[in-house]
């Protein structure tokens, strides 16, 4: 890693001010993706602004609107939260499937969403549940947030503060992990709301996306049978040393069915 300055921010305002001050600064949350990326010199920031000391960014609260989760809440905190397990089990289930225990002890929700790795788990759950991402400047719906491979709608100096996940009637997340990295080779989140079914896919394409024909089928009947004969297109899917596009498309169908089964369980 190249040398950089380390700064521990005392508040979101402090972090935003520092971020806007120039000096090629980047935000540091859990560091589970950023630090390995810096070791590979994929980025060379002049300063890392640590958000870990900002209490207001961390925590889990359930309200009538849904589950409010602070940006620096760790995967382990989400996975182990008893209230979430009762109200919206798909969230702790997905958080518990990320990486390994040590990664879950440090990695954060906000970090995962801001990074938008094409194979990360949280983007699928955020898009599947139709989450709202709150920043220090505005709120962004998940449908508008994920804009491309490692790209989001976040602007310069914008910091995720919390995420609101609406509570579905039922939901499931099924993932086929890459055996080496535990990233999703393919992961599918299926969620049923009064307003309709949402299906989001991670790992398969350049960025998380919705599968509207699967949504329509599940809208008419929420069961595995409703997906009979439906296949996912392999067009524009990732095709690499880990898996071919055809195989990924096949996995999308399998994972979607498993997610429905989990939702119905």
């Amino acid at each position: 890693m190249r040398e950089f300055n380390y700064y521990r921010a005392g508040s979101v305002r402090d972090a935003a001010k520092r971020l806007g001050a120039g000096g090629n600064a980047m935000l540091l949350a859990g560091g589970m993706t950023l630090l390995p990326a810096l070791k590979m010199r994929l980025n060379e920031p002049g300063e890392l602004i640590d958000l870990a000391g900002i209490d207001e960014l961390s925590g889990i609260k359930l309200t009538r609107k849904g589950a409010h989760i602070g940006a620096t809440t760790t995967h382990a905190e989400v996975a182990g939260n008893v209230e979430l397990r009762a109200a919206v089990p798909v969230l702790p289930h997905a958080a518990d499937a990320i990486g390994d225990p040590q990664v879950r002890n440090r990695g954060t929700l906000g970090g995962s969403l801001a990074n938008n790795d094409p194979a990360a788990d949280y983007p699928a759950v955020a898009l599947g549940l139709g989450a709202t991402i709150f920043t220090n400047k505005r709120k962004i719906s998940a449908d508008d947030f994920f804009t491309g491979m490692f790209e989001t709608a976040l602007g310069r100096g914008e910091i995720i503060t919390q995420v609101l996940f609406p509570i579905p009637q039922r939901a499931g997340y099924a993932k086929f992990p890459n055996p080496a990295t535990r990233y999703a080779l393919v992961g599918v989140c299926v969620a049923q709301f009064k307003t309709g079914v949402r299906v989001a896919v991670t790992g398969a394409g350049a960025s998380v996306y919705r599968l509207t024909d699967f949504e329509d089928a599940l809208d008419s009947e929420f069961s595995e049978v409703a997906l009979d004969g439906l296949t996912a297109s392999s067009a524009n899917l990732n095709d690499d040393m880990h898996a071919g596009a055809e195989y990924r498309a096949h996995l999308v169908g399998v994972m979607a069915r498993r997610a429905v089964t989990m939702a119905l369980d």
């Binding site: 300055n5 390995p36 040590q102």
Partner: protein
């Protein structure tokens, strides 16, 4: 760039001058001489560098020394008490859970964290938990056996 970090290290208050980009594992090994945490892969996959920060297991190769400021840090060197091996260390010894020993400090620190959360894990739970700890010579069979034996020993100790 230089800054002072202060934290509790195996029960003692310590301070060190360090730089922003210094990794916690490097500070522990090079400055404090605690070479139990190993740098195996340096890509947060192998788990040979696992230590505890504020009571939970973390990969010290993927944490900055500066992030530990104000924290409580425990390494494998702090595990034995009064000259007696920790039950997990003892169980690794008794069940031949290591050959070369390179992964062992990380395995043990990871297992201690597991047993704090789940005092009687099943075989599946142990194997799931050790997802982030790689062993390339002993194989996991005796490691899993040792962790479960330690759970029994610690349960007897507590009762």
């Amino acid at each position: 760039m230089d800054a002072t970090v202060s934290f509790t290290l195996n029960g003692k208050n310590v301070s060190a001058e360090t730089t922003g980009a210094t990794l916690l594992v490097d500070l522990l090994r090079n400055h404090f001489g605690l070479t139990g945490a190993h740098v195996g892969c340096d890509t947060s996959q192998c788990g040979a560098c696992v230590i505890h920060v504020d009571g939970v297991s973390v990969k010290s190769c993927t944490m900055l020394a500066a992030q530990a400021d104000g924290c409580t840090v425990e390494t494998i060197e702090g595990l034995a008490a009064n000259g007696e091996l920790h039950p997990v260390q003892q169980a690794f010894h008794e069940h031949h859970a290591l050959q070369c020993g390179f992964c062992t400090p990380g395995m043990i620190m990871s297992a201690v964290d597991l047993l704090r959360r789940n005092p009687r894990p099943s075989e599946v739970e142990v194997r799931d938990w050790l997802e982030g700890n790689m062993c390339r010579c002993t194989g996991y069979h005796n490691i899993v056996k040792a962790v479960r034996a330690a759970a029994v020993a610690m349960g007897e100790e507590a009762s």
